[in-house]
Subunit: 306 residues, 2 copies
């Protein structure tokens, strides 16, 4: 089974605390390391959790509030200083290019690697990344400034065939591939063996949806439906629902409502307001609506199984 | 005696490590809180060390390499979010204004306090800040990009007069002030009492010099001479003197040479390369030339006495 693992690097909202850093996450799907948002001090968090940051080739920035991107110039600079030459892809608001370039211009830094910018189009289901294993699409989130969430999906995986079956029917290479892709097999005597009798187990492609920052918005549900794991911001407790609405954020209860309505398998909440020293009430509130909720905790990883 | 205390917030050079943050220092002179450089995650360090960052009204940025200013947008943003209305003075390279403004423009942030920019003129001994207690002047440092060091000096303090003396000569208020400023006193019988017989003790004004980043450069000596405390970068051990020269940095040995030639009272070294896990060799090397050397250690404070 290929890796599918989310590691939390930062789980605080706008103002970091001495215990919690601003938003950043690392998603490993089949050894592709996707960095999702990059709040201040993300490079320090990566070092602390012993994650080799030169393995990151794709960075996704949801929006241009500082707590979601201020760690980027420092990370790019360190990647450069430590000898990076591989190109780096940035999926982000178009304006981020100006922010980054003005800084490198004034520090007279000339990076040894190329940054390829992929500006957000703010279209739901927009395919922004694809390779043979993974695809990534945007979700339009409703926040104070333009903002995108991301859905990371495995592509359908090829099924496995046991050695026994291969030997029994003396399957040639191209037949094995066809069966793995779902085809039936016709023996030399004309007997049709249905695909499900040939394959060992077909793994269900996994899906991770990232939604931060956003007001409570049911329009996102169709794009995150049945996700194996949903990260949804939960800045406040529901007693502060008015404040959440006013600042275009979500409460823990509302995040759980979204998870329930989208019928996801698991919910992870984060982006906690600095006012909450103890996060248990946020968890309790979310679990009262959606049982399979966990807290985003820095340095902790969640493995998504299929 | 008024406070004169330096607290180290970050002591790493360009690439931070899991143990050391990039450069930032807080200098408290008579309850004026001066922030000197502001590397990434400085706001997190301030919180960690329980320093109320709204008390900072003056920030000094030496140059525009990221490890000296990348923490600034996040700090300004948090100051704003936490309700700051007092104006903030920024003594910095002129280009920093563009860097900051482009970020706030794209995040659609409108700060509730005013930033007053004081762009560096890159002139030695340039008086950039002054109030009734303190003055700050720039030193031109020789680095890869334009860079300034800073000298923070107490203004001459008024001497104390004992109650006994005041009663003995029945001194009126204006006479007390004149004596505190250094004048002699003539009694009604015409006797001249010299100033040194009237005052208790005249405190020597204290001086802190901050020199980061710079190549070994004896031209700075005249501006930092007799400082009570000198911070001088010491990025490398002297075995890497060639690398230090090439990158416009200094070795621990060279920093100590500067301290010795400038006849300062105490040297504090920092801006360590990430390659040094153990800092003892850097300290040993500096102390071999200048005994009264200490290491910059995050969270530790040095009180300057007079």
């Amino acid at each position: 089974m290929q890796n599918f693992e989310l590691t939390i690097l930062g789980c605080s909202s706008a103002t970091p605390t001495s215990k919690r850093n601003p938003t950043a996450q690392l998603l490993n799907i089949a050894e592709r390391f996707f960095l999702i948002d990059c709040g201040e001090a993300t490079q320090i968090q990566l070092r602390k959790f012993k994650i080799k940051f030169q393995r990151i080739n794709h960075i996704f920035i949801s929006h241009l509030h500082g707590d979601h991107y201020l760690g980027l110039p420092g990370l790019l600079s360190s990647m450069h200083l430590l000898g990076r030459t591989n190109e780096l892809h940035l999926y982000c608001p178009a304006e981020l290019q100006e922010i980054i370039e003005v800084q490198f211009k004034h520090s007279q830094s000339y990076l040894n690697f190329k940054i390829i910018y992929h500006p957000h189009q703010y279209i739901n289901n927009d395919l922004i990344f694809e390779d043979e294993r993974v695809e990534v699409r945007t979700i339009v989130l409703s926040h104070r400034i333009p903002c995108c969430g991301f859905v990371f999906s495995e592509k359908p995986l090829l099924a496995n065939i046991s050695k026994e079956i291969i030997e029994k029917y003396d399957l040639p290479h191209e037949q094995i591939l066809a069966i793995k892709k779902g085809e039936d097999f016709t023996t030399s005597s004309g007997e049709v063996i249905p695909n499900e009798k040939l394959i060992v187990r077909k793994l269900t492609p996994r899906k991770y949806a990232y939604c931060s920052d956003t007001i409570y918005d049911e329009r996102i549900i169709e794009y995150i439906q049945h996700a194996d794991l949903l990260y949804h911001e939960a800045t406040f407790l529901n007693e502060m629902a008015a404040r959440a609405k006013e600042t275009f954020h979500t409460t823990a209860l509302q995040a759980a409502e979204i998870a329930k309505k989208a019928e996801v398998k698991k919910l992870i909440i984060g982006h906690y307001s600095a006012r909450y020293k103890d996060l248990q009430p946020l968890l309790d509130e979310a679990q009262s609506v959606f049982k399979n909720t966990i807290l985003a905790v820095e340095g902790e990883s969640t493995v998504v199984k299929n």
